[in-house]
């Protein structure tokens, strides 16, 4: 079965302008989101994953940064060429976004019900009576499994816990019946047990509503739990892309390998508490400054298998195994 591509990003490059300097936040990023798929984008802070999320929706003001080149196709149509009016019909309507921190994303002076209503009024054309609206809000809150939806509707954001606030955010995002949901670190601000509930909710909603989800995270554990495919980003570009199980069982890029090895895993139980050497395999060095990137492969200063050829030119993303793409000249020859 050929799955329909709902979102395609092609060779996207994005630059921020800061104090006369140009910062290449995204370089040649391509990705494809298929219908009913959860695609994970993993990377460390500053790798450009949030910039990617925001630029897909053109949410970054042009004063601060611009898309330099590339295309973003929503069902075959290039979002970047649309007029502002048409863009509005897609942004927040057919593609919704959920941000990391629910507390700063919700307006503290309005009741949660009002905030959901605002989104409903914006995205649904026909005028609805207050009564209808209330019903819809309750339906949405039930959809995101909010306990006592009728009470929550009248409460202010600060009266809700972080997990509940994130449920409200998801309800707002879903109010327009979107086809694509972009979730930017949706559980980072939450505790693990709550994180689990939100992830379960996202998976369930994806199945129930036929959503396609782009999940942005720094946590490989989350990827393993809910994503079908993963793109690993480093310093503004995608260095590896494959199915989730392929990434975990057969990581090819030295960065992906290093990241997976540097995680304390479940099996590594210390055998004796005292005196025995237990160490993690750390990646040396640190994430490069986006305004001052190294030449060639951006990972070469930290790479354990670096050779001279890595330094002059940035490698291209190549398909090494079927559906497994890697940006490294040391792989596959």
């Amino acid at each position: 079965m050929v799955m329909e591509k709902v979102l395609e990003v092609r060779n996207l490059s994005f630059a921020f302008y800061k104090g006369g300097k140009v910062i290449q936040a995204l370089r040649d990023v391509s990705l494809t989101l298929k219908r009913n798929e959860v695609l994970g984008i993993v990377g460390e802070s500053g790798c450009g994953k949030s910039t990617l999320a925001l630029s897909i929706l053109k949410l970054i003001p042009e004063k601060e940064g611009k898309i330099v080149s590339g295309e973003i196709l929503f069902k075959g149509e290039d979002i970047l060429r649309l007029s502002d009016e048409k863009l509005l019909q897609i942004r927040g309507n057919r593609i919704s976004i959920v941000f990391q921190d629910p507390f700063t994303s919700l307006n503290p002076v309005f009741r949660t019900g009002n905030q959901i209503a605002e989104s409903l009024a914006l995205h649904r054309k026909e005028n609805q009576s207050t009564h209808q609206m209330e019903k819809e809000i309750i339906k949405l809150l039930e959809l995101v499994k909010m306990p006592k939806p009728k009470d929550t509707m009248w409460s202010y954001p600060h009266q809700l816990s972080g997990g509940m606030q994130q449920r409200v955010m998801i309800a707002i995002a879903l109010s327009s019946n979107p086809e694509i949901l972009i979730a930017d670190e949706p559980t980072t601000a939450l505790d693990v047990t709550i994180q689990n509930e939100i992830l379960a909710l996202l998976t369930e909603l994806q199945k129930k509503l036929g959503l396609s989800i782009v999940l942005i995270t720094h946590d490989f554990g989350i990827v393993a739990q809910i994503c079908q495919r993963v793109s690993v980003m480093y310093a503004g570009s995608i260095v590896e892309e494959a199915s989730t199980s392929e990434i975990f069982h057969n990581p090819l890029h030295p960065y992906t390998k290093g990241l997976l090895e540097s995680l304390p895993s479940r099996e590594e139980l210390p055998s004796s508490p005292q005196g025995e050497k237990r160490r993690l395999k750390a990646i040396p060095g640190q994430v490069p400054d986006p305004s001052n990137l190294p030449s060639g492969c951006k990972f070469h200063p930290r790479c354990p298998v670096v050779i001279e050829d890595c330094k002059p030119e940035e490698p291209k993303l190549r398909e090494i195994v079927k559906n497994h793409w890697v940006r490294c000249i040391r792989v596959g020859y």
Partner: protein, 266 residues
């Protein structure tokens, strides 16, 4: 070495114009535990469970409502701030907020060195301070020529190293590490965790590790206590708690960790 007995910290909830105390938040509600020399003891739990409050009580940044803390058999409430600081140091979660942005690295670490040297009663030479500061920076894996630079010039991982160097300057026996890596990138987390282990081996330090990441706790610590709503619900060796947890909350917490091995969907 460290013994905590029936420690309590209640924060009053005040209402109205006269700030009448209407209730108490029982942040830490009668906990007891001990840390041995050279041991890494972890307190885990979700936000709001009282683990950071416990850390603050141990370094006397907060006064307990009730209960006692003994260090080598001495009640710490009888020790002065400075005296205690030479025995127990703390590393904070956020390396961006815990270093004074207007001081150079040399001053941040050097001040602590000076403070310790002064306590010996002898006259302190500037050269001595500089030398020792350099030695400390070297020990935590930083270049020694950064004395005149400012915190903003460093990455999160480097700043955390500076924080560790400052803590080591007092030559403490116990370091309270409050979420030492949770604000760092994954590839840098491993470096800092390894550094903490190296320091324990070379200096014979003990740690009280405060963390919410159960994978890190399992890797780093010898014994662990699980906190829930201000109480310790389970305590034991890492092996026992992780392999054979008894309390339902611990079980729930362990099941919630997203891991590569269990979570993978096919």
């Amino acid at each position: 070495m460290l013994k905590v007995e029936n420690l309590k910290k209640y924060f009053p909830v005040e209402r109205g114009v006269f700030r009448r105390v209407v209730d108490y938040i029982r942040a830490v509600d009668g906990i007891s535990f001990g840390i041995r020399k050279g041991e890494i003891f972890a307190l885990v739990g979700e936000s709001g469970c009282g683990k950071t409050t416990t850390a603050k009580l141990i370094v006397k940044l907060l006064e307990p409502t009730d209960g006692e803390i003994f260090f080598h058999g001495k009640d710490i409430s009888l020790l002065g701030r400075r005296e205690l600081a030479r025995k127990i140091q703390i590393i904070f979660q956020d390396p961006f907020a815990s270093l004074n942005p207007r001081l150079t690295i040399g001053t941040i670490v050097g001040e602590a060195v000076e403070c310790r040297l002064e306590a010996t009663g002898e006259k302190v030479k500037t050269k001595e301070i500089i030398n020792e500061t350099k030695e400390l920076l070297n020990r935590v894996g930083l270049p020694v020529n950064i004395l005149n630079e400012y915190p903003h010039q460093f990455s999160g991982g480097q700043r955390q190293r500076i924080g560790i160097a400052r803590a080591l300057a007092m030559q403490p026996e116990l370091i309270v590490a409050d979420e030492p890596v949770s604000s760092l990138d994954i590839s840098v987390q491993a470096q800092i965790l390894n550094l903490l282990l190296d320091l324990r081996d070379s200096l014979g330090l003990s740690y009280l590790l405060i963390a919410h990441d159960l994978n890190i706790v399992r890797f780093l610590s010898d014994r662990v206590a699980v906190m829930y709503q201000g109480k310790i619900v389970e305590m034991g060796s890492v092996k026992n708690v992780y392999k054979d947890s008894q309390h339902p909350y611990t079980k729930r917490l362990l099941e919630a960790i997203p891991t590569l091995e269990t979570g993978l969907i096919e």
